[in-house]
Point group: C2
Chain length 253, copies 2
């Protein structure tokens, strides 16, 4: 099973982003979609999208707490976006794994607005510990990703194609890695840090979760194209809204 942990929050493009996401993953066999709303209560429309998607899912809520005095110090972000939700997703993941008798799976922290090729899901099924790959439109680059050399024992990551905060141990975006679920069950106390240096959430999490001596497994490196895009949906222009008389009945967008 591929477990997808997806934080989501209310905004004009929420339903359309979740719909497109569903349209991709419903074509992937053996998926369990853990959706965690940044909200106090479950949204009926989000629930409808999940119900209609025809994949196994968990529908949870976890509200991001108010920031502690904006920021603790310059560059340290308390509760970066999606953290509380991903951690709630990890609790749910551990619950699901304890039910299925510890069979192997993979967990991927898949934001609701990115674009995923079907190929990346097939490839991530075979991750032994931690897989990483290129992601387009991250860090001011057309793509970020591992630089891979062929060594005597197969492919090896020799560096990183990255231009920003290059001193990070794991200079990757959230969409760039997935983990074998054994790492999650074997380390029941691992969560995302609620305080991280700006852009250091992923490297801090991976530093905690990747066991000593484990080498990252590069995926899709032999291709001449990317398999995941860090897309964002443009904010729609709603300038005329309010100029019209109110609707007879509200229409869900």
């Amino acid at each position: 099973t591929i477990y997808l942990v997806t934080p989501t929050y209310a905004r004009s493009s929420q339903h359309v982003d979740l719909t497109r996401f569903c349209y991709t993953i419903r074509q992937v066999p053996k998926v369990h979609w853990i959706v965690v709303e940044d909200a106090e209560v479950h949204s009926p429309e989000v629930r409808r999208i999940l119900n209609d998607c025809e994949v196994a899912f968990s529908h949870l809520v976890a509200l991001t707490p108010p920031r502690e005095n904006a920021q603790i110090c310059r560059k340290v972000d308390s509760q970066p976006r999606g953290v509380k939700q991903r951690n709630t997703g990890l609790v749910e993941l551990r619950r699901l794994l304890s039910l299925n008798g510890g069979r192997d799976g993979v967990v991927y922290f898949a934001d609701d607005d990115n674009t995923y090729s079907l190929e990346i899901f097939e490839r991530m099924r075979h991750i032994k510990a931690v897989g990483v790959w290129r992601v387009a439109f991250v860090g001011g680059l057309s793509y970020e990703g591992p630089v891979v050399d062929m060594g005597p024992n197969g492919p090896r990551i020799s560096g990183w194609h990255v231009a920003w905060a290059t001193d990070r141990k794991y200079p990757v975006d959230m969409a760039a890695f997935a983990l074998n679920t054994r790492l999650i069950t074997a380390q029941p106390d691992v969560y995302f840090p609620t305080h991280a240096l700006d852009g250091h959430l992923e490297t801090d999490f991976l530093s905690a979760v990747v066991p000593e001596g484990v080498e990252l497994e590069p995926l899709g490196f032999e291709l001449d194209r990317v398999l995941v895009w860090h897309t964002r949906t443009e904010l729609p222009n709603l300038r005329q809204e309010g100029k019209l008389p109110p609707d007879r009945r509200p229409i869900i967008i």
Copy 2:
């Protein structure tokens, strides 16, 4: 068959937009995707996306000619985006229809960056002449669309939920309508106008193509939600590009 006419042009999000589009329509039975690149030559990566999509397709090119002295007069746009491509698509559509012995179908002018629910395709199959429906994020509104009343002979369009250029005869976006292909074969000279008032391309085309006395058929009006979203993919920040040494080999994004 649902014939989809899709103009597309080279930009950073072209491949990801086409990939998402493909992921939707490959779940729709009996589709023929007519893709017309705004380019001089066929792009190999666009071809790969089409080949891998597992839908019937035509892959054509038609370059938008240079604008005639920018604009002929204020507010008249010569060759608005996608026009040359849609007209090339109409030529291909008439060719395909002449081959299949005139069986009924539907044609939809589906831009590559919008988002389409699977439901809209099922509904448009049954269009007798011209179907119309709501589209989100158009004309400065959260949605534009027909206002529908139940008359003695069924649903009837009594007005339009629209705030901009309300004097248009058919105040709709390109994504808001589809046509029975009989209208296309019966009127072999109908094309999109290469000169139209800003935002009047759809109404000018429909004024030419909708026969006298034919009433538009509203679809999805009984729902409390939209089935098509006029989305746009955010321009990625590529500020760090060029700061890195050139790639060993180029990566397609």
